[in-house]
């Protein structure tokens, strides 16, 4: 979640109609987390135009319908993960292909969804899981910070008590 309290979701797909359908679906189902959806037609446009770091990115695998040498979805995952390692990625593609799914997972995708009758149900579930994962990671980071601060305070306190007991042993 951004400092302004919005949840950023980026969609990268070369199918304009599907982009709009996914955007509508996400905005309808995740309105409670103040979701802000940005859409991009391919990886090259994304690399130039995407300003903020997304909480979740939904990426198609084949992004070359307009540009023959366009980056594929796995390359876009690499780009996103390099810029923002905490971003969760869901690959949504028409390709029922275990090899691409495994590649996407190896490159850091959280899920791989095949475009079919079930895709919106699965996509909603995947985005929900990604947001839960994000919350857990933030909670863990916060707990680590608290543990660190507690350790520093405890060390200072022990140091102070030790110093006082050495300098003025009758204080205690």
């Amino acid at each position: 979640m951004n400092s302004n309290g919005t949840t950023n979701i980026h969609i990268i797909d070369d199918d304009r109609m599907l982009i709009q359908a996914i955007k509508n679906e996400i905005e309808k189902n995740f309105s409670d987390v103040n979701v802000q959806v940005s859409v991009f037609e391919n990886g090259e446009v994304y690399a130039v135009a995407a300003k903020d770091k997304p909480d979740v990115a939904i990426i198609d695998f084949h992004l070359d319908s307009k540009y023959k040498d366009a980056m594929n979805g796995v390359k876009v995952i690499d780009f996103i993960k390099k810029r923002s390692a905490d971003t969760e990625v869901v690959m949504v593609t028409g390709e029922e292909n275990a090899e691409i799914a495994v590649r996407a997972m190896h490159h850091g995708a959280h899920d791989y969804i095949v475009k079919n009758d079930n895709m919106f149900r699965k996509l909603n579930m995947a985005v929900y899981q990604c947001l839960k994962l994000r919350d857990l990671k933030e909670e863990l980071k916060m707990q680590k910070k608290i543990s660190y601060i507690s350790a520093v305070i405890l060390t200072l306190l022990i140091g102070t008590i030790t110093t006082i007991s050495l300098v003025a042993p009758h204080t205690f």
Binding site: E96, N97, A98, A101, Y112
Partner: protein, 120 residues
């Protein structure tokens, strides 16, 4: 003496590990051992600490391979678990990878070269 390294192959068909051993054993220097059930392999894993476990997803009828993967990865973190399958099913691949499988290989004409890449 060079320390022996093992590949375990878990497949209901006893001929598959034999084939696997003949293709990969000599060329890669690994000793290939075959098992028809994951439970049979667990005990020997403790002594052999295999570098790879190949699970043949489709041949293990009536067995949910996900708990087997979870157990192997929990007990032997360094062992790479590779699932082989007849199906090109992305959902199955993703589910098995989530359970801890290191790779998912679809059995087709390119299987042997894919496996060589994984083993080397």
């Amino acid at each position: 003496m060079k320390h022996r390294q093992f590949i375990f192959v878990i497949d209901e068909d006893p001929l598959f590990p034999v084939w696997f051993g003949s293709v990969f054993g000599d060329k890669t220097g690994y000793s290939v051992l075959g098992y028809s059930r994951p439970e049979e392999a667990y005990e020997e894993m403790k002594t052999c600490n295999p570098r790879f476990v190949f699970l043949n997803h489709n041949s293990l009828k009536g067995i949910n391979v996900q708990p087997a993967i979870l157990k192997i990865k929990a007990l032997f973190k360094e062992t790479r678990v590779i699932v082989m399958s007849d199906e090109n099913n992305a959902e199955t691949a993703v589910d098995l990878m989530r359970s801890g499988a290191d790779d998912f290989v679809q059995k087709d004409e390119a299987t042997i070269s894919k496996m060589f890449q994984l083993i080397y």
